[in-house]
């Protein structure tokens, strides 16, 4: 990563830390019950499914593509889990099956984008409808409940003796793994190369199609995992689980500093942005603002997180170019 991009992302991340603190202050001023351990525990547990889906989506957008179908894959996974569990199959069989279904959905997205060469925007818009439709075909209006105690405790409960929700542990491990892969490994280096210049990556021997397909599969699997966790938390499998999540997931990636055109972005930024949105929504909820009205704020955040940098870039471009220290003779 070039030094310029690093400086830019570090400045963006410190902006997010300030925003996080600001929203915590806003939250505590809106309601006396905000600053409490149990509230932060609830806030975090409501956030984990979206957070888990934001990680692979960050890699996909850095690689220059997008995946809008994540919330529908979550719904389909929840419906399949309910369907198989209602058949009496044990959970240790249902959960892997559901993750495989997630991988298959991701593979379909990947092949349509890399082999058929279709734009990922339209493909994943199609699968957003397709997977949600399949979920309602699998489970219809039914909801499956009666889950084993350990399963619902995992979804809804905290690690004994603390206020840390179990799903937070899952997310923390995944976040550290993604941070490691993106920053330190050749996979991360290739993802940045593909995002910054797809042609140069291809001409450097990188199998762009295989890498992108892998990322879509990863997104499918983790969306399915999020579906399992949400089913546990709600202790009820439904075809309409996860509806409307795509806004928060895409916003946390773009607010996190990932460039919509690919090539730039860090996991640290995305994780910070996830909690910024989580704290904002929780503060507004405690002030009895309905979730849908909250989406006005989150929707605005999404637009600003993309409009902001482009406007800054255009303003700085418009200013007369100061003489750079080293004359660049690009003859």
């Amino acid at each position: 990563m070039s030094t310029l991009a690093l400086a830019l992302s570090r400045r963006w991340e410190s902006l997010l830390v300030i925003l996080l603190v600001a929203f915590i202050v806003l939250g505590s001023s809106l309601s006396p019950f905000f600053l409490s351990g149990s509230n932060f525990s609830d806030l975090t547990s409501n956030l984990m499914e979206k957070a888990i889906m934001a990680l692979p989506l960050a890699l996909i957008i850095i690689a220059g593509e997008i995946d809008l179908s994540v919330e529908s894959m979550l719904g389909l996974a929840s419906a399949l889990l309910g369907f198989t569990y209602a058949l009496g199959w044990p959970l240790w069989l249902d959960i892997p099956l559901v993750l495989v279904a997630g991988a298959t959905g991701g593979l379909l997205n990947g092949l349509l984008v890399t082999r058929a060469g279709l734009p990922s925007l339209v493909v994943t818009l199609g699968t957003l409808a397709l997977y949600r439709g399949l979920a309602s075909v699998v489970l219809g209006p039914r909801s499956v409940s009666g889950w084993p105690q350990w399963f619902t405790d995992f979804g809804f409960g905290d690690v004994p003796g603390t206020l840390i929700p179990w799903p937070l542990l899952v997310f923390a491990v995944l976040a550290l793994a993604f941070l490691f892969v993106l920053n330190r490994t050749w996979i991360g280096r290739q993802i940045y190369a593909i995002g910054k210049n797809k042609e140069a990556a291809r001409y450097s021997g990188i199998d762009v199609a295989k890498m992108k397909t892998f990322l879509f599969i990863l997104s499918g699997v983790l969306s399915a995992l999020a579906g399992v966790i949400l089913t546990a938390r709600f202790s009820s499998a439904r075809a309409d689980n996860g509806q409307g999540f795509v806004l928060d997931v895409v916003t946390s990636v773009l607010l996190g500093g990932v460039n919509i055109f690919g090539g730039e972005g860090t996991i640290v930024g995305v994780v910070l942005a996830i909690f910024v949105i989580g704290v904002l929504r929780n503060g507004l909820t405690l002030a009895d603002v309905s979730p849908d009205t909250q989406s006005v704020a989150v929707g605005a955040l999404l637009i600003l997180s993309v409009a902001g940098p482009t406007l800054v870039r255009r303003i700085s471009a418009a200013r007369p170019r100061r003489q750079l220290t080293k004359p660049v003779s690009n003859s």
Binding site: A5, R202, D207, S329
Partner: protein
């Protein structure tokens, strides 16, 4: 430039011509080029001349695995090779310095070190982690060897001059230790000084035994650098000349389809 003897313009070192490194027999791609055959030996520079649109870049893209041939075969060191992707080509020792440096050659936002290591970044990693020290050492060695002028291997490629950028692209492929080097308009859009340095590098590589295919629309460059010249006209081999019996007129005649007998 007028009247100066060819040798002073193009520093052509003496290279011992070795075995056939790459042989192309009857290569064809529907509607683009057909029945293209030529050989490149170790230490030899084969110039591919012809007008723009003659299909020279398309041949190189097939040899490097970007496109697939419809007919013909490619032999590397005498053995038949099946090249379906750039990765296959690299494994066979064939590398390609593309015509468009910015679009296909470099990731401008990456540092020199990151660009040089890109094709072999997987090999430079242990347990997935990229060995940054080895990466920087590699980049530093090749920068010194090719005399890349920069503030250091951490400088972003976008800050380099055209000539230095081209050297980084060459360094990037030398790092893979290739046997066959395909060069597509290597000195296009490069200042005079850098052009000479690139030519010096090319002839040094040939001297060290590299088999080189030089695609160039500059007749003087082809005449000055190449040991043998293959001329393409509308996707077909129009003529082939040795270094001594080639001339601007003969090449232009072949390139425009008026070859004598």
């Amino acid at each position: 430039m007028v009247g100066r003897r060819l040798e002073t313009l193009f520093p052509k070192e003496h290279a011992t011509i070795g075995e056939v490194a790459l042989e192309v027999r009857g290569l064809a791609r529907k509607g683009v080029f057909s029945d293209v055959s030529f050989q490149v030996r170790h230490g030899e520079i084969v110039g591919l001349a012809g007008l723009v649109g003659a299909g020279r870049t398309e041949v190189a893209r097939v040899l490097f695995g970007i496109d697939r041939a419809d007919a013909g075969e490619v032999l590397v060191a005498g053995k038949r090779a099946d090249i379906n992707s750039p990765k296959d080509a690299m494994r066979l020792g064939i590398v390609y310095v593309p015509e468009d440096r910015h679009e296909q050659g470099l990731v401008l936002d990456f540092s020199i070190a990151a660009n040089v290591s890109l094709p072999i970044v997987q090999k430079l990693s242990r347990l997935l982690v990229v060995d940054r020290a080895q990466e920087r050492r590699l980049a530093a060695d090749y920068s010194k060897q090719l005399q890349v002028r920069s503030t250091g291997v951490d400088q972003t490629a976008s800050g380099l001059s055209g000539g230095n950028q081209q050297k980084v692209v060459i360094a990037k492929w030398l790092a893979t230790r290739p046997t066959v080097l395909l060069l597509d308009e290597p000195t296009q859009g490069v200042d005079i000084g850098a052009k000479a340095e690139v030519h010096r590098i090319i002839s040094q590589l040939a001297a060290q035994g590299m088999a080189i295919v030089l695609i160039s629309s500059e007749l003087l460059e082809v005449l000055g650098m190449a040991d043998r010249i293959v001329v393409l006209h509308e996707g077909r081999v129009a003529a082939e000349f040795g270094r001594d019996n080639a001339s601007q007129e003969r090449i232009m005649a072949a390139a425009t389809g008026h070859a004598e007998a």
